[in-house]
């Protein structure tokens, strides 16, 4: 593999490197376009039509339409670019970040007020922390899934 990636053993984390950047180029450039008010209006009026103006993959478009930020990130999105979608929707960074955990907005906000997520068990893949793959989704979504 051409690029060394010492950061691939961190759970629940995608590092935006050159490979991700190449994968997500058009997705992220689409996001940048939402910094112009007139583009936000056009996007909101017909999301699919606006997305179709960009040479993104169909999966990237679906991920945007679903507002599934984890999916967006897997297809090369970077959070600072994706935040322009959130801004267009009137969402805060806290709402956006929380949406990626499966927690409700209140659950995530309460976690932050209580001091945030602990690094314990979340430093390396395969530990037992709440960010590990086998413990997703988090919060009430987990109960729903189990129900």
């Amino acid at each position: 593999m051409p690029l060394e990636k010492p950061y691939q053993d961190v759970p629940g984390t995608i590092i935006f490197d050159a490979d991700q950047s190449r994968l997500g180029y058009w997705l992220n450039q689409f996001c940048m376009s939402l910094m112009k008010a007139e583009n936000r209006v056009r996007f909101k009026a017909d999301e699919r039509a606006y997305l179709d103006e960009w040479p993104m993959s169909e999966e990237q478009k679906q991920a945007v339409l679903a507002r599934d930020l984890n999916w967006c990130m897997r297809t090369g999105g970077n959070i600072y670019f994706l935040a322009k979608i959130g801004a267009t929707d009137g969402k805060s960074f806290q709402q956006m970040a929380g949406s990626m955990t499966g927690m409700s907005e209140t659950e995530y906000r309460n976690m932050m007020i209580s001091g945030g997520r602990s690094a314990e068990g979340n430093r390396y893949l395969g530990e037992q922390g709440d960010a590990q793959a086998h413990r997703q989704p988090q919060g009430s979504a987990a109960q729903k899934g189990a129900a």
């Binding site: 984390t13 008010a37 970040a97 995530y108 932050m112 945030g116 997520r117």
Partner: protein, 283 residues
Amino acid sequence: MARITASVYTSHVPAIGAALDLGKTEEDYWKPVFAGYEFSKQWIAEQKPDVIFLVYNDHATAFSLDLIPTFALGTAAHYKVADEGWGPRPVPDVEGHPVLAAHIAQSVIQDDFDLTLVNRMEVDHGLTVPLSLMFGQPQAWPCKVIPLAVNVVQYPVPSGRRCFQLGQAIRKAVESFDEDLTVQIWGTGGMSHQLQGARAGLINREWDNAWLDALIANPGAAAQVPHIDYVREAGSEGIELVMWLIARGAMADVSGGAAPRVRHRFYHVPASNTAVGHLILEN
């Protein structure tokens, strides 16, 4: 002779800007955050810096994936406040100092730092939130600002060691400018936070405070911390802290002078997703 009199370090969380702009500073959630900057506002009113050399990162605002400068130094006279998707923040535009900036560019490039010079750039919350925290809500910012935008978005980002060395080169450049100017250098971003994935919301109070201790007393050691430690311990966006090392590298003690005086230290969790850290060091 221009002199770097102090360095200021602060998080630049966008929600802090929004809280200020929307008049929420008295809400229970926000009160403790702004309380941490009360001293700082008085202090800077007395200090009256002429120029702030402000190290921050652009958050996919001025720079898209089309062009990614490792270090972009603003040599313009004027910078507009960007629309990041919520409309531009209702804060004053930023006035630059083109002559000092060009002097720093010349000195630092000749010292083997491969800067990108920028003459047209809109500035985002990374630059304006620190100004708001330190100066409140004036009609115009009370001093000139030289922006240095550091790439911490797409890897590879510059190493802490490189940032620390750049700070030293900036100090040398400022001190060879023959106009009498009081210059502060600010490092912004951090502290621990992660805005993505199942690990979103990570905060590491112990690590942050140990890193602050090192930044104050043993910055050379803090500069050796590899990227992966920031990611693992302080969250994927904790990497922003490398920018504090640029400001710290510009302090006198790093070039053989006296140790800086810690005028203020503040730490609070949370502001939105982030651990707010803040430090004032005087030469």
